[in-house]
């Protein structure tokens, strides 16, 4: 076990990831069996967000550096896959002026996904070279710059991305089963990374920079690895998004999605995978209710006013309250298997 | 660990600072364990002990920059729940360990900010000038960043800055730390002068020999406990104690 410091941390990781997988798959299967058609879409979107939150956790949770560019990487993943996989007949129509022969080829879904992961992963690696050299706040600001740059490219290179308009005709290759399986895979990846000796070293360095460098840890490389791994997971989220909806546009890959997923991660607790999953579930269900209130429904005979903005206020309030009252999130460093493996001494990192 | 003499001492009414049952914490770790000591008005009291004994922690708790429990009475008022700023306004001032001059401010500004709590601007300005006269080096560097001063100069500045608030008691934390012998002597001369002018002083020192020359009464701290106390003579007579604790031959 060279990746893990001890057999026990490996076992914990397997246990924890399995338990979360059961939880996550269970919810999905319940919806498949009992849910209505429109529930499927909502739940699928929630799974995509779960992937984003996990991708975010891999970097943020282990380095304690706030990342705000995650929706941009998700968008890159979605667009690259979409451009590769969409049939030429449709692209001739929707992207008549596309450069570099982008509208003259089409690939199968698998190759498209691989290309998307490669390109997005490479871009993550390149940007990571800058990010890891900066101090916490500087790094965060540069992630904002990345978000803005990517967004304005999406919006203004309409010949490739169609900007505000819909990029349509993407084959719908995924269903809820596919994304459940992918989510389980990503939960394992994120959890293994957290428990690996690299994850442990990274978290040690995020607490105290000097002591870790004294330990001889090459923080830069570890951070770069976490950043790139996170980028790959985000690209995967984007691919899943595109492969289900069939239509994408640039708008959703910007600040409101950044805030939404950030609130999910923070609520549960960014240092733990359990926290990431828990936060995603809570915000997803909570927001459904808030959105319902937003429309001004009639409840127990009372007509509520329309309250646009309520969901944003709720998200903001969640972030502020968590930061003020419990800045490690609801679960802090807790992982789900600790509920079941109480007797044994679970290492606390 | 007998603290009998302390009890007797604390009965006297002339105590300016009276600390009882003081414990200091960093998070959950307790580094000072229920110590008692006091400082009489106009006296110089030394707090001695090896590295990590808890001297800085004790002195910091008097100003409230670390969390502590127990009672701290200053001029017959319990100050242990007050904010740091209020304690300073009552007349406690510190020249902290490692000096901590404001290195991005000029020498003048350092002295100026030292007088922050004073209302009598004119007198304060004159006092600044008096200090600059006392230390011509500081006067030369009046408008230079204090960070460019040498260690000794910074120490003089720190003490002068602490005195600018016209404190009733001055806390000095290792004023001779890292200074050459000649400069150290200057610092102790300055403290001697202050004492002669009637300033009440609580002095923390590694340099026990020098400190004992100045002090009217001393407390010896080890691992967060007061292990001995007495006049300088009494301490010096316990030669074995001195040499084992501070490495200074009695």
């Amino acid at each position: 076990m060279r990746i893990f410091q001890s057999i026990r941390s490996f076992k914990n990781a397997v246990w924890g990831a399995s338990l979360l997988s059961i939880l996550v798959a269970g919810i999905g299967l319940l919806v498949i069996v009992f849910g209505e058609k429109y529930h499927l879409r909502l739940v699928y979107a929630a799974y995509v967000n779960l992937l984003v939150v996990l991708g975010l956790q891999v970097f943020m949770g282990n380095t304690n550096i706030t990342n705000l560019s995650h929706s941009a990487f998700m968008g890159l993943g979605a667009y690259v896959a979409a451009i590769c996989v969409t049939p030429v007949t449709i692209k001739k129509l929707s992207l008549p002026d596309a450069p570099w022969g982008l509208n003259t080829f089409e690939l199968d879904a698998f190759s498209s996904a691989i290309i998307s992961l490669t390109i997005t992963g490479f871009l993550a690696f390149l940007t990571g070279l800058i990010i890891v050299r900066l101090s916490g706040i500087g790094a965060t600001i540069v992630t904002i710059a990345i978000l803005v740059i990517v967004h304005s490219v999406f919006m203004h290179r309409t010949d490739i991305f169609k900007g505000k308009q819909a990029f349509f005709g993407i084959p719908q290759v995924f269903d809820l089963y596919s994304i459940i399986i992918i989510s389980i895979g990503v939960i394992f990846v994120a959890r293994f990374f957290r428990e690996s000796k690299w994850g442990i070293q990274l978290r040690a360095s995020s607490d105290d920079d000097t002591s870790a460098s004294a330990m001889g840890v090459n923080i830069f490389n570890l951070r770069l690895f976490a950043w790139t791994l996170g980028g790959l997971i985000l690209a995967m989220a984007g691919i899943c998004y595109a492969y289900f909806l069939g239509t994408i546009s640039a708008r959703p890959f910007y600040f409101s999605h950044v805030f939404l997923t950030l609130a999910m991660l923070i609520l549960g607790g960014m240092r733990s995978i359990t926290g990431a999953v828990l936060g995603t579930i809570m915000i997803t269900f909570g927001l459904e209710w808030v959105r319902f209130m937003e429309t001004g429904p009639v409840l127990i005979g009372i007509k509520f006013p329309e309250m646009l903005g309520l969901s944003g206020i709720t998200l903001g309030a969640v972030i502020v309250l968590i930061m003020v009252l419990r800045n490690g999130g609801l679960v802090g460093n807790f992982e789900i298997e600790q509920m079941f493996l109480k007797g044994r001494n679970v290492p606390k990192v | 660990m007998t603290v009998v003499p302390l009890v007797l001492l604390s009965l006297q009414k002339t105590n300016m600072l009276e600390v009882k049952n003081l414990s200091v914490f960093y998070g959950r770790i307790k580094v000072v364990h229920s110590i008692d000591f006091s400082v009489k008005k106009g006296s110089c009291v030394a707090l001695l002990g090896p590295n990590g004994a808890g001297k800085t922690s004790t002195i910091s708790s008097i100003l409230g920059t670390v969390s502590s429990s127990g009672s701290i009475r200053f001029l017959d008022k319990d100050i242990s729940k007050m904010h740091t700023e209020e304690r300073v306004k009552l007349g406690i001032s510190i020249a902290p360990e490692g000096r901590r001059v404001f290195s991005n401010l000029s020498v003048f500004e350092n002295l100026f900010i030292g007088s922050a709590i004073r209302e009598d601007r004119k007198a304060a300005d004159e006092e600044i000038n008096a200090w600059l006269k006392t230390f011509p080096i500081l006067d030369e560097r009046r408008d230079q960043a204090a960070g460019t001063l040498s260690g000794g100069e910074q120490q003089m500045l720190t003490i002068a800055r602490a005195l600018m608030s016209r404190p009733k008691i001055l806390l000095l934390d290792e004023p001779s730390l890292g200074l050459a012998p000649r400069i150290t002597r200057q610092v102790f001369e300055l403290i001697q002068d202050l004492k002669a002018q009637g300033m009440t002083i609580l002095l923390v020192e590694q340099n026990a020999t020098e400190a004992l020359k100045l002090a009217d009464f001393s407390f010896i701290l080890n691992s967060g406990n007061v292990i001995a106390s007495g006049s300088s003579e009494e301490i010096l007579n316990k030669g074995d104690l001195m040499s084992s604790l501070t490495g200074v031959e009695a």
Partner: protein, 298 residues
């Protein structure tokens, strides 16, 4: 030649706006390590105050300006009291995320209580008239903006150099605890920092409204994003750095507008941010990174 003069003036007025906002961010950051993302909403409050005052039939522009600036100051102080004080001693990430949350709440409150759409505010249009200087045509607004920024910087420097509170603020950026040990109340120093940042945000709001003529919930968000970038390039926490970064950003933006072909105009921000990222590779701590050490510790 005329063209160059004209574009230089453009760059100055762009830069002035960023510098104003960046200074407000930097002064708070230098003292309490808080990256105040809600600064944009303080600007927006200035804008909404002008809107409200205009609908309440306030005619005198001076009163409207004072009202807007005052509202921004009060808002900044209010945010410090209710949102940022609880996280004052927390790490920078906690502060940053708190500020994010506050920004999100306020933007959506504007949306909920006022309107998601822009609302016209024309009371600052009087600041804007064309001026002919020989062959050069400029706007009075640009001159006002540049001048106001320079005056604000000058007054700020005077305050920081001459007043006790100002000196304490400079000292606090290196060693806050030592400032408290001088008997200066921490709350006072921090409130002063927020009041100044609110004042600068209020001034910025006036010029933004004068140019845009309308207020909407995201009025301050984008300018503040840019100002952050200016702060980071200048060296976060350094006040001269914020000013330098602001003007540099203004120059870069105008440069991009001039150099980029028309069809790429919309990508101006992308290019500017990319150049900034490259500058950061060269100097990760920013151009004028502030000193970090806490006095002389042996």
């Amino acid at each position: 030649m005329d063209y160059i003069v004209q574009q230089t003036l453009n760059a100055l007025s762009f830069g002035a706006e960023y510098a104003l906002i960046a200074l407000g961010l930097a002064i708070v950051f230098s003292i309490m390590n808080l990256v105040n993302f809600a600064h944009g909403e303080v600007i927006a409050i200035g804008g909404y105050t002008m809107m409200v005052m205009a609908t309440l039939a306030f005619k005198n522009p001076i009163i409207i300006i004072l009202g807007a600036v005052l509202a921004a100051i009060i808002m900044a102080l209010f945010l410090e009291r209710i949102a940022f004080r609880p996280v004052r001693y927390a790490d920078a990430t906690t502060g940053l995320l708190t500020a994010f949350g506050v920004s999100l709440i306020l933007q959506n409150l504007f949306l909920l209580l006022v309107s998601p759409r822009p609302i016209a505010v024309t009371s600052m249009y009087f600041l804007d008239w064309p001026i002919r200087l020989g062959p050069i045509q400029i706007s009075s607004l640009q001159i006002f903006e540049t001048l106001a920024t320079l005056i604000a910087i000058l007054l700020l420097v005077l305050f920081l150099k001459k007043s006790l509170l100002g000196i304490a603020m400079r000292a606090a950026s290196l060693d806050f605890e030592m400032v408290r040990l001088m008997g200066i109340r921490a709350n006072r120093v921090i409130a002063a920092a927020f009041a100044i940042s609110g004042l600068l945000a209020g001034i910025a709001a006036i010029f933004i409204i004068a140019r845009r003529g309308a207020v909407d919930p995201t009025l301050g968000f984008n300018p503040v994003l840019k100002a952050f970038v200016a702060c980071v390039v200048g060296g976060f926490g350094s006040l001269p750095g914020a000013v330098l970064g602001g003007f540099l950003l203004g120059a870069l933006e105008v440069g991009m507008l001039v150099l980029l072909p028309q069809s790429y105009g919309g990508m101006k921000d992308a290019f500017v941010f990319a150049i900034i990222a490259i500058i950061l590779v060269w100097r990760p701590e920013g151009i004028l990174s502030p000193p970090k050490e806490k006095g002389d510790k042996i």
